[in-house]
Amino acid sequence: MSMMAPSISVVPDSDVAEISRSLWGDAWKRLSRRPSAMICMGIVAVYLLVGLASFLPVFDRKIEQAVADGYQGPSFKSFDRLLGTDIQGFPVIWRLLYGTRVALLITIFASVLSLGIGVTLGIVAGYFGGWIDDIITWLFTTVSSVPWILLMIAMVYALKGRMFPWFVIENRRPHFAWAEMDPTVMIILALGLTDWVGICRLIRGEVLKHRERDYVQAARAAGVGTGRILSRHILPNVFHLVIISFSLGAVAYVQAEVVLTFLGLGITGRPSWGRMIDDAKLELLRGVWWQAVAATAAIGILCLALNLLGDALRDALDPRLRGAD
């Protein structure tokens, strides 16, 4: 581009200062102009940091250290009792913080799985067309015909109680053995393997348009291999859809964990936000509200931030959709 001597500008002079070279630079500029988006990003970053920190062994210890005999309301006297205690006297604040570990594991891995499947199939279907497109379209039409919650339930039902070759650590010696699948892994699979339909459909539609664009034709004419066209030319041009889907998908996964755990198909053996709300169904009627409120607030704030951030990202990255609300 820089070799073209007289650069033609269709942008009015007053906007020249705003010209940025890259899609991402533009998007960042638009995003950083919205204070609400920056606040949401900050909130998500805090959750991410807490989630990473919650892998420290101190969290495993703290959730099993009773600080009272039974239920006890929140008090400011000590950090452990800040959000009260549950029926066994375990500190709710530590259970809540530990819950970010499960939430982080589920959102990250389920997103990687579903986005990976969806993007790959979407790009392949959109670019190659023909019978490959027919098969992939048939696949996602079929999967999307099964209501999501039922598909998840069917998935968990199929995986539950089955033995899998699994990496277990016994006496500090890691080895492969047949074991039941960890509930967290099961949820990740159930979510990831069922939720790829939306992104697949989106990407396929977008790639269909890009396939005929000049830059792809030029790359093809220059003898660039198909794999390279897909990964280096087309993927970056549809990647903004992946980012938006990620932030809105995370909301769905955090909420799905609550539903699955409540139905008895989710997390067992360790605290999670879903389990805390599940515990609360009996506690609330006894006047014990702190566990329910804590977990609801943790989910509510995260999902609110992600929802708003998702909207802001869509506006910033995909300006054509702006005003669509």
Binding site: V146, L150, L151, I153, G161, K281, G300
Partner: protein
Amino acid sequence: MWAYIVRRILLTIPTVLGIVLLTFVLFTLVSKDPARAYAGKQANETTLRAIRHKMGLDKKPFFDLEGAREKHSIKAFFDTQFFDLLFFRFPQSMRYEDSVWHLLKTKGPVSLAIQVPAFLILLGLELAIALYVANHRGKTADVLVTTISILGMSIPALSIYLAAQWFFGAQLQIFPVAGWEGGFYAIQFAALPILCVIFSQLGWGARFYRTVVLDELGSDYVRTARAKGLPQREVMLTHVLRNVMIPVVTNTVAALPFLLLGALVLEHLFQIPGMGELIVQSIFNEDRSVVMGLVYLTSIAYCIALLLSDILYSVVDPRVSLR
């Protein structure tokens, strides 16, 4: 229009076959031994064989060539697990000793008793709010509705149910906390779940229809109606509302299967013996036939509802057939 409808119907056939295949793969090929899961670890081989027979698991998975040769009938060739599923010949429920169809008949109305009123009230409220808010865009009411709806989308529905159960059931004691009774007194038990559905979904629906109404407000016919001096009220109620009815009707048709399915979480929490609770209990009881049957039936129903909604759309809006 007819060409479109016929094409749309034909396109449904591979999807239905796909649903059969998906259900079959999940419940037969991937799933663990359902007979052993139902009977427990102590069961001996004879019991297991009896249970397998009852569950229809002793049949061949796809085609039964040997059976057809022995009995000299083509019918035996298709007397397999796959075709049992395809033609809705579900094995009996192990737990309830009853056919899946009969369970559907007894549990379905319970779910409908909650979902239908909830759906109708919800739809009316959503449309009223959407029309009002879209008409006052950017004003306090609009900002309030948008804010509350995005808050409602962020909080888990279960938390909203629990809060309502605690407040209306335990604190104010207006409604029973949970439970069910048939007949006239069902109203008493259905009221709180209905309220819960409305609370948890109103935000999303109002926001959705607000966008729909706003889209319509920007169109030419609205400008014309205003230009000829029609009062705003009349523009909204006669012109805009009638056009908004198109997505309303298509959405409603697509939502029909879910009305029967009920809300799994809601029915489980309020101990309502409807379809949702049936699925949850059948998972706990390892009652494969019921879970598989209901997943399959709901998916097929959803698929057909989508088909109907598309056809309805093409009837209402002739532009579709030009696609």
